[in-house]
Symmetry: C2
Subunit: 157 residues, 2 copies
């Protein structure tokens, strides 16, 4: 189905366009691009959070399971591969083959470009959590392409 | 299904972000935004054209029918409502309820903003046609929201 790849194509074009438009190619300029991508993901996540069929969450962990299962299937047509927690509000979500990193894993891009391809999704997770009533801080890391981890810290209000 | 609306949300954010980033809010700045949106649509259309199951096209009209049916279903989960031609290389594709204009039709935006929400799709049609071997010029027009028309002129090579 073409609509499955449509989001991936559009995301890749958005990353390229924001990078090309940045007047400052240095670290400051890249930081601005990442911030825009993260903000875009946040607003899309907020809107998606309103649309996804929602169950009643008894525990914080249930919300994270919802992201790993329902949100990931809606956006990437697959479930997250792993979920760990320190039981103190920090969660690590592991995707062993993250779709937005696969073109890079085929050698079309380089590892140092990985943050650009993860910023939108960090925002997506943060925005969905916001709609579900949770303030959070979401960061990402890559060790081996195309695997990646998203670390979610739930902020107590 | 959330993935159906995912493209629409991301498209809306891209339109908003490009508008907000433009240093020149006048007609020149808007022209630049429209050109970027059209170019983004073009590259997504080129890539989608490679992915869509393709049949053998005996006539130019068959290619336009392919856009109205296969491309539209892949991107918007519906077929185009009408297709007219002057039999001299110009085609008018009519969508009576274009998904990317529906939020505006509900009063969230205004008619003068319509071109911003059509530029990407003009590029999408032009890019798909390019992959299928046709040079074209694609323009759009709106009379009553959320209906719109795309005019495709096939350029003879």
């Amino acid at each position: 189905m073409a609509d499955v790849v449509l989001f991936e194509f559009l995301h890749a074009e958005m990353v390229a366009e924001l990078g090309a438009r940045d007047p400052d190619p240095g670290p400051g300029g890249q930081k601005r691009s990442l911030s825009v991508l993260e903000g875009t993901g946040f607003r899309v996540g907020q809107a998606l959070g309103e649309r996804l069929p929602r169950e009643t969450f008894r525990e914080e962990l249930d919300v994270l399971k919802f992201l790993c299962r329902d949100l990931w299937v809606a956006v990437f047509q697959k479930q997250m591969d792993g979920l760990c927690t320190n039981h103190q509000g920090t969660y690590v979500l592991q995707d062993n083959s993250f779709p937005l990193l696969i073109p890079m894993a085929l050698g079309l891009q380089y590892l140092e470009d990985a943050p650009k391809f993860l910023a939108f999704t960090c925002g997506l997770l943060r925005g969905t959590l916001r709609t579900l009533g949770f303030q959070s801080l979401v960061t990402s890391s890559v060790a081996t392409l195309p695997a990646c981890k998203f670390q979610v810290e739930i902020r107590k209000s």
